[in-house]
C-alpha cells in the first residue's frame, strides 16, 4: 500500500509558468514532509521541507502548501525555468529517519 501518493507522474510547463505537484498521505503520525529534487545521474537532494504546524513555507521560487485536515501537500514552482527540469519527489516521515517517498514527478520546462 502506497503511503504517499503523488501526482502527476509527468508534467510539462512553459518557461515562466507555475509548476504544481500534489501529494496526499494517510498516516496522521507523519510530522515531517520533505521535497526532493533529482537530476539524471544524481541522487535526490533536499529542496524544501515543512512540518504540519505551518500551512505554507516559501524558499525563493519554491513554495510548499500544507493542508493538515485534508492530509494533502503540494509544491509550487513559480517562474519555472529550464534548469528546474528534474524529477521531484514528495515524502513524509514520522521519525525523521525513515523517509517514505512518493513515486516522483518528471518535470520538463519548455524553453
Amino acid at each position: 500500500q502506497q503511503q504517499v501518493k503523488q501526482s502527476p507522474q509527468s508534467l510539462i510547463v512553459q518557461k515562466g509558468g507555475i509548476s504544481i505537484i500534489n501529494c496526499a498521505y494517510e498516516n496522521t503520525a507523519f510530522d515531517y514532509f520533505p521535497w526532493y529534487q533529482q537530476f539524471p545521474g544524481k541522487g535526490p537532494a533536499l529542496l524544501i521541507a515543512i512540518r504540519p504546524d505551518v500551512s505554507e513555507k516559501k524558499e525563493g521560487r519554491f513554495t510548499i502548501s500544507f493542508n493538515k485536515s485534508a492530509k494533502q501537500f503540494s509544491l509550487h514552482i513559480m517562474d519555472s525555468q529550464p534548469g528546474d527540469s528534474a524529477t521531484y519527489f514528495c515524502a513524509a516521515s514520522d521519525d525523521g529517519d525513515k523517509i517514505i517517498f512518493g513515486k516522483g514527478t518528471r518535470l520538463h520546462i519548455l524553453p
Partner: protein
C-alpha cells in the same frame, strides 16, 4: 567537503550471483541510510545505521540482503544470491544528527540482475 559516494555506479550480475555495494558517507555523519528504487516504483527505505548499530532494518526485503557498517564509517550492502526482482537503483544517504536532519544522498548504484 566530499559528498556521499557509492561504488560501483553500475553492476550487472547473473541471477544467483553475489554483489556487494559500498557507501562512504560524509565524514562525521553518524547516521547512514540505504534506500532502493525499483523501476517504476517509489524510493523505498531499507535500513538505518547509527554509527555501527542497526537502528531500523524494517525495510530489508528478506534475508538475502545483509548490511554492515563495521567501525561506523563506510557501509556495505550484500545481496546473496541475487534475484531478478533485486534490480534497481540502490541509494545511500547520510546525516549528521538524524531525526529530521537533512539526509544527503549519494548518486546511487544501478544493479541489474539478468
Amino acid at each position: 567537503e566530499a559528498g556521499v559516494t557509492q561504488f560501483p555506479s553500475h553492476s550487472v550480475i547473473e541471477k544467483g550471483q553475489t554483489v556487494t555495494l559500498r557507501c562512504d558517507p560524509i565524514s562525521g555523519h553518524d547516521n547512514l541510510y540505504w534506500y532502493r528504487r525499483v523501476m517504476g516504483k517509489e524510493i523505498k527505505f531499507l535500513l538505518h545505521f547509527v554509527k555501527e548499530s542497526k537502528q531500523d532494518e524494517s525495510g530489508m526485503p528478506n534475508n538475502r540482503f545483509l548490511a554492515e557498517r563495521t567501525g561506523g564509517t563506510y557501509s556495505t550492502l550484500k545481496v546473496q544470491p541475487a534475484e531478478l526482482e533485486d534490480s534497481g537503483v540502490y541509494f545511500c544517504a547520510s546525516s549528521h544528527l538524524g531525526r529530521g536532519d537533512e539526509q544527503y544522498f549519494g548518486p546511487g548504484t544501478r544493479l541489474t540482475v539478468t
